[in-house]
């Protein structure tokens, strides 16, 4: 088997060092490239679509660099993993920054946790949702292999995803409200948490992604 190539899409939003190093760690034989080049991305066997920061800036750069078409094309043909704002930008629209249209590859909204969030006991919850929270695996998926149901992953976000078609949800988390922590459809998987910062559980998910044939 020839070495698999993974392209980490670099559109200037945030640090991709950890994501690239985590992929190299879990797949020592793989070639990891960090790039904004459409040809390089589309010649890779698999694609990681990360993102941090404000959605307007992210979408602005994605469109400016013509990466919207690249992401759509990659999603047609090979394993694609969206992370954090990368996941959010796959949705229809985000209410961040006064409302921003996203790629609409998945029907759904990105919503604000709100200033008045409480847990089941009535304790006020801080926003951003920052830290390690449990992810309930809603349905089996190759990317959950060897990860215990309810494992904790590292989150940092103030906006969350609400899918129109909840059958696409693969992982659920709760922070004042239940929300989509992971979604999957065919060869696309996306997570709100940061697997590259989620120690063993996160590295296992990345390893699964690197071995995934894109069949769900």
């Amino acid at each position: 088997m020839s070495a698999t190539t993974v392209a980490v899409i670099d559109y200037g939003m945030g640090n991709l060092h950890s994501a690239a190093k985590a992929l190299e760690t879990v797949a020592p034989g793989a070639k990891v490239i960090v790039t904004a080049d459409a040809d390089k991305i589309l010649s890779a066997d698999r694609v990681v679509f990360p993102g941090v920061g404000a959605i307007r800036d992210c979408m602005g750069e994605i469109l400016r660099l013509g990466l919207d078409q690249v992401v759509r094309e990659a999603a047609q043909s090979r394993p694609l993993l969206g992370i954090c704002v990368g996941m959010q930008s796959l949705m229809t629209r985000s209410e961040e920054n006064g409302g921003v249209d996203c790629l609409n590859m998945f029907a759904g909204q990105v919503k604000f946790f709100g200033d008045n969030l409480h847990d089941a006991r009535g304790e006020k919850l801080k926003v951003p949702h920052m830290g390690w929270n449990q992810v309930q695996q809603i349905r089996p998926h190759p990317l959950w292999k060897n990860i215990a149901d309810g494992s904790r992953f590292y989150f940092v976000h103030s906006y969350y995803i609400q899918l129109e078609d909840e059958t696409l949800m693969t992982g659920r988390c709760e922070y004042g409200v239940p929300f989509t922590a992971a979604l999957g459809r065919e060869n696309v998987f996306a997570v709100q948490f940061h697997p590259e910062k989620s120690q063993k559980a996160g590295l296992t998910l990345l390893k699964n992604f690197m071995e995934w044939d894109g069949q769900a």
Binding site: S18, K126, G131, W132, N133, A148, R152, E174, S198
Partner: protein
């Protein structure tokens, strides 16, 4: 089920070496920050904070390499503090693999810097460090002021109001250190921790004064902190991070134990 409270070991780094010393029984060179971070990661640390106390320009470059090395080997969040004064400093640390930077003195002298940083890089990576000292007399309602220069210089700024202002500018997290308690091992200043945690919508990390595991637990249960930061109790092998987490979990605090 819910969000876990975090334990964050903090390392003071000077020219790429950990100062104040860290003693693990089974490692010979306890001055390498990456090696120590790995140990804490293995023990279940939820994040790591590197506080860069290097004065020289060359030392800063060393810190960048240290951060790069750490971020290549340890896959939990890393915060870098100390000497973050310009947007360029933030970009350098984030590109090296830091997830968050902690801004202290620069925020006091130029609060708008926090706003610029949050607008540029996102609130999620901007931690504002607050060094607070109690200025109210015994029996009076609690009042705390911001101090700079390691707690030597008063600024006249009220700590609770300052925290609210920083969050207004876009700080995503507050790292609160009690200058009265730092180094005393008498426990956090729970009053100021609670006052600030109640006053702001973002997570608060309690710091300064931890001497035992009960102190860590109280930071959360009484101080309402979202995370607790400690250095010496872990560095000298008094307790492992895992012991601390189990102790806190036994008190009903939600912790990451897996």
């Amino acid at each position: 089920m819910g969000l876990a409270k975090r334990i964050i070991p903090c390392l003071d780094v000077d020219n790429g070496r950990v100062v104040k010393g860290v003693k693990f029984l089974d490692i010979r060179d306890a001055g390498d920050p990456v090696e120590i971070a790995r140990r804490y990661d293995e023990q279940g640390a939820d994040e790591i904070t590197f506080l860069d106390i290097t004065a020289s320009h060359e030392g800063r470059d060393t810190m960048v390499h240290t951060v790069e090395k750490m971020a290549s080997q340890v896959f939990i969040p890393l915060t870098v503090g100390g000497g973050i004064r310009k947007l360029e400093d933030i970009r350098t640390m984030l590109n090296a693999g830091a997830d968050k930077v902690s801004i202290n003195t620069a925020a006091v002298f130029n609060p708008e810097f926090v706003g610029e940083a949050a607008a540029k890089f996102g609130s999620q990576c901007i931690v504002v460090a607050i060094d607070a000292k109690k200025v109210s007399a015994a029996g009076e309602p609690g009042r705390w002021e911001i101090f700079t220069h390691g707690g030597r210089k008063p600024t006249g700024l009220d700590a609770v109001e300052w925290a609210k202002k920083m969050v207004g500018f876009g700080a995503g997290e507050i790292l609160l250190t009690s200058m009265d308690r730092d180094g005393t091992k008498n426990g956090f200043d729970l009053d100021v921790t609670r006052a600030i945690s109640d006053a702001v919508a973002v997570p608060v990390i309690a710091s300064g004064g931890v001497g035992n595991l009960q102190h860590l637990a109280e930071g959360v249960t009484i101080g309402k902190a979202d995370a607790v930061l400690a250095a010496s109790i872990f560095h000298f092998g008094e307790y492992t991070v895992q012991q601390a987490k189990q102790f806190m979990a036994a008190q009903g605090i939600e912790m990451r134990l897996d």
